[in-house]
């Protein structure tokens, strides 16, 4: 239908988009688009949730590859053993004997190996169970789901803070975490910086960016300034 519209139609973006959406809601059962605001809302929530958390793919793939390699090796040893050929490293019965003799090994070595192994196991279990939140925030927008890296927010705040404090951007550092933004300013020697003014500017800018979860700013002025900054 509206595909045939040329770019001339796109100049009046708002109204055309509205009619387009209305039409799309009617004749698009199982089509390629979200049809009602509630459906879109749910879709955006799902996408946002997935974008804000790590999929743990890299670790899972590395582990899977290691396990497959281990299995391939074990399979080769079994086949060699069945054919009566010499083993690559150790035949199954040699492995069994080695495990059986575990109580005769030096206690210290067994304990060290055991502790490291157990620790690796615990770390993996923790990684599997924890949320894995990424350093990102949602930004409220009425057209799309928006995710912003924390460092982008920090870099924007740093620019505003540097301008408000009248220092070089390189002497301003901002750290953005889940709910906080910490602004650190190293003033130019002999030019005191008004922390309240900087905080006000940063807070105003943060309020303009509608982040979810919301971020509260704090400003820290370094006690010692830099010469010629």
């Amino acid at each position: 239908m509206s595909i045939t519209r040329t770019t001339a139609g796109a100049t009046d973006a708002q109204s055309v988009a509205r009619t387009g959406t209305a039409a799309g809601a009617v004749d698009r059962p199982g089509g390629g688009t979200a049809d009602s605001p509630a459906v879109t809302e749910r879709l955006y929530r799902r996408i946002s949730r997935r974008e804000l958390h790590s999929p743990r793919s890299l670790l899972a793939i590395v582990l899977a590859v290691l396990i497959v390699l281990l299995f391939v090796y074990a399979g080769v040893e079994i086949v060699l053993n069945m054919l009566g050929q010499p083993a690559l490293v150790a035949s199954p019965s040699q492995v069994a004997t080695a495990i059986g003799a575990a109580d005769t090994y030096p206690t210290g070595a067994v304990l060290v190996v055991g502790s490291i192994t157990a620790l690796v196991g615990i770390v993996l279990i923790v990684i599997a169970l924890t949320g894995g939140r990424r350093a990102r925030h949602l930004l409220v927008d009425d057209r799309a789901a928006v995710v912003v890296d924390n460092e982008v927010i920090a870099s924007a705040l740093a620019r505003f803070a540097a301008r408000a404090a009248d220092v070089d951007p390189d002497n301003t550092s901002v750290t953005v975490t889940h709910r906080r933004a910490r602004v650190d300013i190293t003033p130019t020697s002999g030019q005191p910086v008004d922390a309240t003014a900087v905080l006000q500017v940063v807070t105003t800018k943060l309020a303009a960016i509608e982040l979810r979860p919301a971020v509260t700013a704090t400003v820290h002025i370094s006690r010692s300034g830099k010469v010629g900054a």
Binding site: S2, T7, G9, A13, V16, G20, T21, D27, R28, G31, G32, T33, A34, R46, I47, R50, S57, A60, V65, I67, V68, F71, V72, G75, I78, N81, M82, I99, G100, D103, T107, V110, L111, V113, G114, A118, G121, L124, I125, V126, A128, L129, L139, D141, R143, A144, A145, V146, V147, V148, D149, E151, I153, A156, R159, P169, K205, A208, I209, E210
Partner: protein, 201 residues
């Protein structure tokens, strides 16, 4: 955005962790003066006898081999294949179809993702705010969703970037006559850190 099964990822990591933890715990129990250490030699003798018995009761062409090894091999191959399938399922979910109209008597209209991707990419390509921009289409919950990911220069306000891309999306809506769900991903990244900052105002 992609269709990676995240529960499966966590399952693989968790189960592997559990097995490694158990192995470590057994090693610790053998190293420390526990019941397990005292009974290790006896247990080993019993286990060896049992396993030897099983292998001898399941001969394969002669007394030297057993078909239990084949069972073991089959299990290893099966698990390995499952893991390879698991790996290959990662990061999928791209689609080349953006819209599919219901068929009418006159035929069916299909819009490919390439259209939306190229229109958006064109609109964002020469923007000084971005170091890179990329548009792709994914299938999420039976819907095609556009993913617009941009890498910003230092100091660019994410709000301005979002407004800009939103506007382009609305133009696309007007062009298509349909609102396609979209994700905007604004990132900094390595190239933003090493590239020089540009004044935009």
């Amino acid at each position: 955005m992609n269709s990676t099964n995240r529960a499966a990822n966590r399952l693989v990591i968790g189960v592997t962790g559990l097995i490694i933890l158990l192995l470590g715990a057994v090693a610790l129990a053998v190293g420390l003066p526990t019941v397990i250490r005292d009974g290790w030699a006896d247990g080993n003798a019993t286990a060896t006898r049992t396993l030897d018995g099983w292998l001898q009761q399941t001969p394969l062409g002669g007394p030297q081999t057993s078909w239990l090894w084949l069972v073991g091999l089959a299990a290893l191959v099966l698990l390995a294949v499952l893991l390879v399938v698991f790996i290959s399922r990662q990061g999928r979910g791209h689609t080349s179809l953006l819209l599919t109209e219901p068929a009418t008597d006159d035929g069916q209209t299909v819009v490919e993702s390439g259209l939306a991707e190229q229109v958006l990419q064109d609109a964002l390509a020469d923007r000084p705010e971005f170091i890179t921009s990329n548009v792709s289409t994914y299938r999420v919950a039976k819907r095609s969703v556009l993913k617009v990911s941009v890498t910003c220069r230092r100091g660019i306000s994410p709000q301005d970037v979002t407004t800009l891309i939103s506007q382009q999306l609305r133009h696309l809506d007007a062009l298509l006559g349909v609102q396609v769900p979209a994700l905007i991903q604004v990132s900094g990244g390595f190239r933003a850190r090493v590239s020089r900052s540009t004044r935009t105002q």
